[in-house]
Symmetry: C2
Subunit: 259 residues, 2 copies
DNA sequence: TTTTATATGATTGACTCCAATCATATAAAA
DNA sequence: TTTTATATGATTGGAGTCAATCATATAAAA
């Protein structure tokens, strides 16, 4: 019995809401709540998962940014995705002690994850505006975690806005690790005004500014300029030198860290 | 083959760390990482779950404050636990618009959860220092979510300390919903110095201060005094009047909301 | 209206997960 | 040392989950 497309979409939106609220829901429970069969729920889960936002598990589904599930999929070795390699390269840059900043975004979340592997940290202060990073790093040994305040941006699960920028004033970072959405000859850019504004405000607060972008961002220019190549201390990427040059990016050797 | 207790404890600590890092891990994956049998992993999961911090699901386990899994267990009807009833009572106090504060703690997390059921909200600003509440409320319709900055307290998944108190200064709340660990004739108390200090700093910022405590906290006195009965606007609890009187607590009718 | 496309629920067989039970090896206690 | 307690792994039966297939009803297209 075919059913109006609109109803299907509404139900799937509701499903996303439910999972978001509960963090995890077993399939049987979803059936009960949406009053549809198990088969339909599974189909809905497949559809919603494809659009991001949730992750299926055996028996149910999780809200996504709680657990990108990265470390499970990102097995070791050759097949390891670019983000994990970038993350390890970034973590190698982090001192045993001091104060660092971690931005929002999946790449930096991978950095947070990798940071929990380090066992030599002694009272490293980590400041972040990412709920995902906070969740991952909470309780990590040797880490004193601080979270910036601000307005919650749903898409990024991050804190932004005037409050966040104001809170930055209280800090001075030995190093900051930032994500970006595009990089071209002019520098780093982002499509979100709030994020770009926040990152620009952060630049002067950090002794070293390391941007972490995988090769897929090469040559992509998004509306809001964040930083020129001159302003940043290092680019950590899996892109090769020749790829960078092809995109019109020339960096001194000490600013280019290949993952 | 019996094994030193110390090793067992270390392994279980490691398990907690792993789950914390990944948010969710399937049993098979845990076996691989800890290099023990499925049976042992299940036993470890039972043990770790008993101490809080994780929630088992079919096929694996979740980090706890991501999803207290409450709404699944807290079925509707008569068996519904006190916290859910308190939460609904609290939500009924929340205006359609304005600015409110939500504290950390499982009771208030239930309030956040219940708040997502309200569909009549129009730009209600919700400010919180609880990551769990933020996770639940992120993306809720009609809610503009703000998170206070501060030092991350692992046990509560909440933000506290000087930064948080400072951030409070920027706000003025129509209502604040707070949790507590004990209530007796003198008032509300808490065992954590940071939490008590934070709550005391919050009191003058809110027009209405509603404490939400279930009956199990009755008569319990913990080291740090937070508020006297005179200072709060309402107590939302499942305890009956006679139970309160037996504990030496006398409240005017307009300050006592029974869930 | 007629035709086509598709959303749904039921069924099925393979697979996975789980709790309980049991034998065993070894730490801890006597 | 001897005894006791217990942490572990293997096994097993039962229950739960999943993807695939199929029939059907109905929305959308012609």
């Amino acid at each position: 019995m075919r059913v109006p497309q609109e109803l299907v979409d509404l139900r799937r939106e509701e499903l996303r809401r439910l999972i978001r609220r509960d963090g995890f829901l077993p399939v049987a429970e979803i059936c009960r709540r949406l009053a549809v069969s198990e088969a339909t729920v599974r189909r809905d889960l497949v559809a919603v998962e494809a659009n991001g936002h949730i992750t299926r598990t055996y028996g149910g589904a999780l809200a996504d940014y709680n657990s990108s599930f990265a470390s499970v999929t990102e097995r070791s070795g050759r097949a390891r995705p670019a983000k994990a390699r970038i993350a390890e390269c970034a973590v190698a840059q982090i001192p045993r002690t001091g104060t660092i900043f971690l931005d929002a975004g999946t790449t930096i979340e991978a950095v947070a994850r990798a940071l929990t592997h380090r066992r030599d940290l002694t009272r490293l202060a980590v400041v972040t505006n990412s709920l995902a990073a906070a969740t991952v790093l909470g309780g990590a040994t040797g880490v004193e975690l601080h979270v910036l305040g601000g307005m919650f941006l749903n898409r990024q699960a991050a804190l932004m806005g005037a409050q966040a920028i104001k809170a930055l004033g209280d800090w001075s970072f030995d190093a900051a690790f930032l994500a970006g959405e595009g990089m071209d000859a002019a520098g780093i850019s982002n499509s979100h005004e709030h994020i770009a504004g926040f990152q620009r405000a952060l630049l002067p607060q950090a002794q070293r500014v390391c941007f972490c972008l995988d090769a897929s961002k090469l040559g992509r220019a998004t509306p809001h300029r964040v930083a020129t190549w001159r302003q940043l201390s290092a680019l950590i990427t899996d892109a090769s030198t020749s790829q960078l040059v092809a995109a019109g990016i020339r960096l001194p050797a000490n600013k280019y860290l290949q993952a």
